[in-house]
């Protein structure tokens, strides 16, 4: 089971609540960094990324209306690899190949059933390691 850090801006708040409950039902521990829902995506995503960097959890989920803003903010953190995803296949592959510690979701882009499977897959999938590590080392030297 994973320890999942979650956060959302105002427009992602409702999907965040839904996914928080879904992940808890699956048995994951969930830490909600934005219980109030009054932040913009820069602020909400920073809270998630900083919690990951502080090792408060091992997977981060940042939600806004499109996922685009949270994706940028996540990746502007050194040592964070954040994937913008709208399908469970990418969610699996980005754990497997990129060792992404965060995903960004758009509440206006994905329906709830797709979002459930994305976070379920992300919480469960493990990094494959091997040849992929050189690319991770390169990304982690950046910014």
């Amino acid at each position: 089971m994973s320890k999942v850090i979650i956060g959302a801006d105002t427009k992602g708040f409702e999907l965040k609540e839904h996914l928080k409950n879904y992940l808890k039902e699956l048995g994951h521990e969930v830490i909600d960094k934005t219980p109030e829902g009054d932040l913009d995506f820069v602020e909400s995503t920073k809270l998630v990324a900083e919690a990951i960097l502080n090792k408060e959890g091992d997977r981060g989920i940042a939600i806004d209306e499109y996922g685009a803003g949270s994706f940028m903010v996540g990746n502007k953190h050194k040592n964070i690899i954040c994937a913008q995803v709208s399908d469970e296949h990418s969610s699996k592959m980005t754990r497997d190949h990129n060792n992404a510690s965060m995903i960004a979701l758009g509440s206006g882009i994905v329906g709830k059933k797709v979002a459930e499977k994305i976070v379920e897959t992300f919480a469960k999938a493990e990094y494959a390691g091997g040849r992929h590590q050189i690319r991770i080392d390169m990304l982690n030297k950046m910014c």
Binding site: Y66, A68, A83, G130
Partner: protein, 172 residues
Amino acid sequence: MKISIGCDHIVTDIKNHIGKYLESKGHEVIDNGTYDHERTHYPIYGKKTAAKVVNKEADLGIVICGTGVGITTSATKIKGIRATLVRDVETVRYAREELNVNVIGIGGRICGVGLIENIIDVFLETKYKETPENKALIEKIDAMIEDNEQANDETMFDEFIEKWNNGGYPAE
């Protein structure tokens, strides 16, 4: 427009298709590689593609790898790049109009070429519409990376490539 493009070895064919598509629409293409299917590493090409954009040699950038995640992440880690990794037309429209993104990433093993072409069309034809709200968000995003010379540091990844060449990473 001048468009900077880059890819990893998994999706070189799709990058080539995009290059031809852009040229057929009258755009100038800067192809940063990779140019074949020999195994290489996406951050090299994400960074090169992004550098052309921040150096104003290109107007916009397009990066592709299998899922798009790796190469788009590497582009986003360059100061001055605002990138979005898209699988639908509406996200690119929003990201260009509201967040003035200058790079898009696409997963070549996720999206088909018809969808990719439509995404590119909307990326190129949509204009940023400045508002006080989105300007403030963009300034906050841009301020997150300190000024650095990473975009133009061509030796930045040498230590890892040397380690790779010396068998320091597993082959599988």
